[in-house]
């Protein structure tokens, strides 16, 4: 093992010893068929030579270095870090699902296709929209597909519109997705209540606008209560309404985007429907649309024929494929299982509980740090550490100190329109006891900021590593491990 001074411990390469192995294959009873010399590899890749023991122990140890929903309260705003049910993990891992090859005959996988068909219908029902594609691989990918559907719709009508309006509180993926479709994103301001400025919107909604991308509730946790009016403004101008479904947890079973004028939306099954986040994916990004947009949805989609379910690519006006195969099926099966385990009442209860928990925590936290907007919120709320920042204690410091108290911090510095923002989303899968403990920790930190600011600004103190130098990571980039003998002697 390396003598290097490591906080996170050795990397797998540092357990390597020549000749050690972690996997045996059966002897091959067929003659060797070497690659032609011009194509053959000259030098072996830098992979560790480790036994199964080191591998299992190393990654188990690494896992202990993570905060996760299973181990910690994780009120990361806009990410909906709800509990990930174990039944879904067990059942989505059944051979009948995991071992299906994407090019098997439809008849071979009718059980799976029926699950996907039903999921398409449930997602349409929950959205109040007509048609669904399951193909996109992530929320941002669903956004891209959804915005392409809008671009294709206008193109098909020879309607040249190149502007997409996006509120200043939106997720960064919104403008990035719109730009990939050739649209020019334009910012719409937020009003004093924390909602879309309707006067500004009405003024800007002219013939060059293709769509509005709205998040509802928005990233301040505030429901766009004038959403019907907003939709009408866009529709009257010949534009469409896209909804980022990141915050669907606050709406499911309570109100439906299709009923308030949304034409296209994507879901994040890894947020709303409890599929685990996996440390940064895989998620999925199903897209639901109104009937008139169905022809443009990406292929393939599951269809029902007389002879059974089928995967169909027959859609001449489709924007095309947005990825290989049919989608992140493993994630979608978990979303399906979640919806089945909740039912209509359970989904509504979860949505209401998410709002209740947020309100419960908001009442406590707003006595510690001021709310960014006083407006009533749904599943999440944003507070600001602006006053503390003037004394040198930033939202980042509070976040790092929360780690010492055993809580994953909220999202910080987002939305961008709030200075020193902390965006808190408790989700419905937490108890009041947990929320009380979190609020108490936050109060203790704000008290520390007054009495012992150094302990806050130098946090965390109890993590495997201290605060990391992000500037150094860019200035002296090391993006791969180098064996000791190859390292510069400097």
């Amino acid at each position: 093992m390396t003598p290097e001074n490591t906080a996170a411990g050795p990397l797998i390469f540092e357990y390597s010893s020549p000749g050690r192995r972690g996997m045996l294959f059966e002897p091959v009873a067929a003659p060797a068929a070497p690659a032609p010399p011009w194509a053959a590899r000259k030098n072996p890749p830098l992979l560790p030579e480790t036994s199964e023991v080191e591998v299992t122990r190393h990654y188990t140890r690494l896992s202990h270095l993570n905060f996760s929903v299973d181990t910690h309260f994780y009120p990361l705003g806009s990410c909906t870090m709800k509990y990930n049910p174990r039944a879904n993990e067990r059942l989505a891992a059944l051979d009948g699902f995991t071992a299906a090859h994407p090019y098997q005959d439809d008849a071979d996988v009718e059980g799976l296709l029926e699950v996907l068909w039903n999921l398409q219908n449930y997602l349409a029902e929950i959205a109040g929209l007509d048609a669904v594609t399951l193909s996109p691989a992530a929320g941002a990918h669903g956004e891209l597909a959804g915005m392409m559907v809008i671009a294709a719709y206008h193109r098909d009508r020879a309607d040249k519109r190149n502007v997409v309006l996006i509120p200043d509180s939106a997720h960064g993926t919104n403008p990035a997705s719109a730009a990939l479709c050739g649209f020019v994103p334009e910012v719409i301001a937020t009003d004093a209540e924390g909602r879309i400025d309707r006067a500004a919107l009405r003024k800007r909604a002219t013939g060059d606008v293709a769509a509005l991308m709205v998040t509802n509730p928005n990233t301040l946790g505030i429901f766009e209560s004038h959403i019907k009016e907003i939709s009408a403004i866009l529709h009257d101008a010949g534009a469409l309404v896209y909804m980022d479904g990141a915050n669907m947890n606050a709406l499911m079973g309570i109100t439906r985007p299709g009923d308030f004028g949304v034409d296209v939306m994507h879901y994040n099954p890894h947020k709303t429907f409890s599929a685990p986040h996996g440390g940064g994916g895989p998620g999925a990004g199903p897209v639901a649309v109104r009937k008139m947009l169905e022809p443009y949805l990406p292929v393939p989609r599951v269809i029902k024929r007389q002879e059974g379910f089928a995967l169909s690519c027959d859609a001449p006006k489709s924007i095309g494929r947005v990825r290989s195969f049919a989608g992140n099926i493993g994630v979608l099966v978990k979303a399906y299982l979640y919806i089945r385990s909740m039912g209509p009442d359970g989904l509504a209860r979860a949505g209401n509980m998410a709002v209740f928990n947020s309100d419960y925590l908001r009442a406590k936290v707003s006595r510690i740090l001021p709310l960014a907007y006083p407006t009533n919120t749904r599943h999440e709320f944003v507070v600001t550490a602006e006053k503390l920042a003037k004394k040198g204690i930033r939202a980042l410091d509070i976040a790092k100190r929360l780690l010492d108290y055993g809580f994953h911090p909220p999202t910080i510095y987002f939305p961008l329109i709030v200075h020193e923002a902390l965006m808190i989303e408790p989700t419905e899968t937490e108890s009041p006891e947990t929320l009380d403990a979190f609020a108490a920790a936050l109060a203790a930190i704000v008290e520390e900021a007054r009495t012992n600011p150094e302990i806050v600004t130098s946090a965390p103190h109890t993590m495997p590593v201290g605060r990391l130098d992000d500037v150094r990571a860019v200035k002296e980039p090391r993006l791969t491990w180098t064996p000791p003998e190859n390292k510069d002697v400097s």
Partner: protein, 454 residues
């Protein structure tokens, strides 16, 4: 919502809620007050009632049981998704809640597990491909190709033409077309000859292109002349993009050493289940000088306050949450759990295991090719070198042959008609290290029986 409707995933009880609302002087109405009455759903959602865990289990087993998959057959299906053996330790690590239920490690101090694993992953991908740097991964092989082409375009703004060999997976080319349809990028696809990229056709089209894209192995199994293709690209001032199956890289040369500027592909063969096509992950690796145009997450080594090694997400100014519409890509997630699977898989196999698994696949595939070619009515479509996948012409429609041998517990291959209408007799056969000589003999015997039927 009525009292006594507690659910296992919802810990706040009705009693707790009623007490809290009462203490605040509020009613249930408070919870929905921000949604005006005319927007509220007036009836329950039209979805089936809730199932208890035992019911859900019975239901899911029933659905899964109606699928007849590669788990109970000898699978020769490939075409971008393969039946490799997955060691138990891969599942054990990926099932750990600390990896499974974490978010992207924005708070690096609370995500050193995920970050260390991403750093290891980047090291392995860079070494396999011969590139300097790798990102933390993207969605899949098709989106990796699309992102690679968009990246090359950013590096080479003057041109708008990209030359793509028909050796790419047809669905990757379709995905690329989708991604560029609202840009000025023009895609030129070049011909295959004997199932292999025609280098002369690349040369004839590469002038003025910003990039040349070629796969290895090709979609039809061929080992491609990457060096010749990329020599032509470089001579014309175009960037070279290699789309490779990473499982082959214990045996086949690292594509960056053959001239690729960007190497990408699909990581499914490295320890990910087939899962009807997803989730797996896509990978992207390139030269250090292009790091600022590389999309997606990147983990880097740095020091903590006391000078100890630690890992963090870096070069984030490329990304959408900072740069918004000027970001390198709209990508947000990196399929971290899937690249973790690949990292554990590659750690278990090591350099020797990856080579042995690759050699076993090629040996068995060549055995299968000889056996099938010896069956009356069947022949190999091409005679070019291949890795572990090859095309066969059947005496009848391939889809019918596949259906006929299905009853023998064999998934014989992917009919090429699915991608290329008119090639109804051609079958793409893949052989992984998981297959045995007995299974291949059984395939040949079954094909022989099916060949004579009408």
């Amino acid at each position: 919502m009525s009292a006594g409707k507690e659910h296992p995933y919802l810990p706040t009880t009705d009693i707790q809620r009623a007490e809290a609302l009462e203490a605040a002087g509020l009613t249930e109405e408070y919870l929905v007050q921000s949604i005006l009455p005319d927007l509220r759903l007036q009836k329950p959602l039209d979805i089936p009632r809730a199932l208890s865990e035992p019911e859900l289990t019975r239901h899911a087993r029933l659905c899964a049981g109606r699928n007849s998959t590669t788990a109970e057959a000898a699978s020769f299906l490939g075409a971008g998704c393969y039946d490799h053996f997955i060691p138990a330790a891969v599942d054990a690590v990926a099932a750990r809640g600390e990896f499974l239920t974490a978010y992207t490690p924005y708070q690096a101090e609370a995500g050193q597990g995920t970050l260390s694993a991403i750093f290891e992953y980047q090291t392995m991908i860079a070494s396999l491909t011969g590139a300097d740097v790798s990102n933390a991964g993207v969605y899949d092989g098709a989106t990796a190709v699309a992102e690679a082409v968009l990246m090359a375009k950013r590096l080479h703004r003057k041109s708008s033409k990209v030359v793509v060999s028909a050796s790419l997976h047809p669905e990757y080319i379709e995905t690329l077309r989708t991604y560029v349809q609202f840009t000025d990028i023009e895609i030129i696809t070049t011909r295959l000859e004997n199932g292999v990229t025609n280098v002369a056709d690349i040369a004839a089209n590469a002038a003025g292109a910003f990039a040349v894209v070629a796969a290895n192995p090709g979609f039809l199994g061929s080992i491609e002349p990457l060096r010749d293709i990329f020599d032509v690209a470089r001579a014309q001032g175009a960037l070279s993009i290699a789309v490779v199956n990473p499982f082959t890289l214990g045996v086949l040369e690292a594509p960056a050493l053959l001239g690729a500027d960007i190497v990408c592909g699909d990581g499914q063969p490295l320890g990910c289940y087939q899962y009807y096509g997803g989730p797996a992950f896509g990978f992207m690796a390139t030269r250090m000088e292009y790091i600022r145009q590389l999309p997606g997450r990147v983990a880097g080594e740095t020091r903590d306050a006391s000078g100890r090694r630690g890992f963090t997400l870096t070069f984030q100014t490329r990304e959408q949450h900072i740069r918004r519409e000027r970001a390198t890509s709209n990508i947000c997630t990196n399929h971290a759990l899937m690249s973790l699977r690949a990292t554990v898989y590659l750690s278990l196999l090591g350099p020797r295991g990856l080579r042995e698994a690759g050699e076993a696949s090629t040996a068995l595939a060549h055995y299968a090719a000889r056996k099938i070619a010896a069956v009356d009515g069947y022949s190999l479509v091409y005679d070019a070198p291949f890795f572990n996948e090859f095309a066969v012409t059947c005496p009848r429609r391939a889809a019918d042959v596949v259906r006929d041998v299905r009853g023998d517990g064999i998934l014989a291959g992917v009919p090429l008609e699915r991608f290329f209408p008119g090639r109804e007799k051609d079958l793409l056969v893949a052989v992984t290290e998981k297959r045995t000589v007995d299974e291949i003999d059984a395939l040949a015997a079954a094909l022989e029986r099916a060949g004579g039927r009408t």
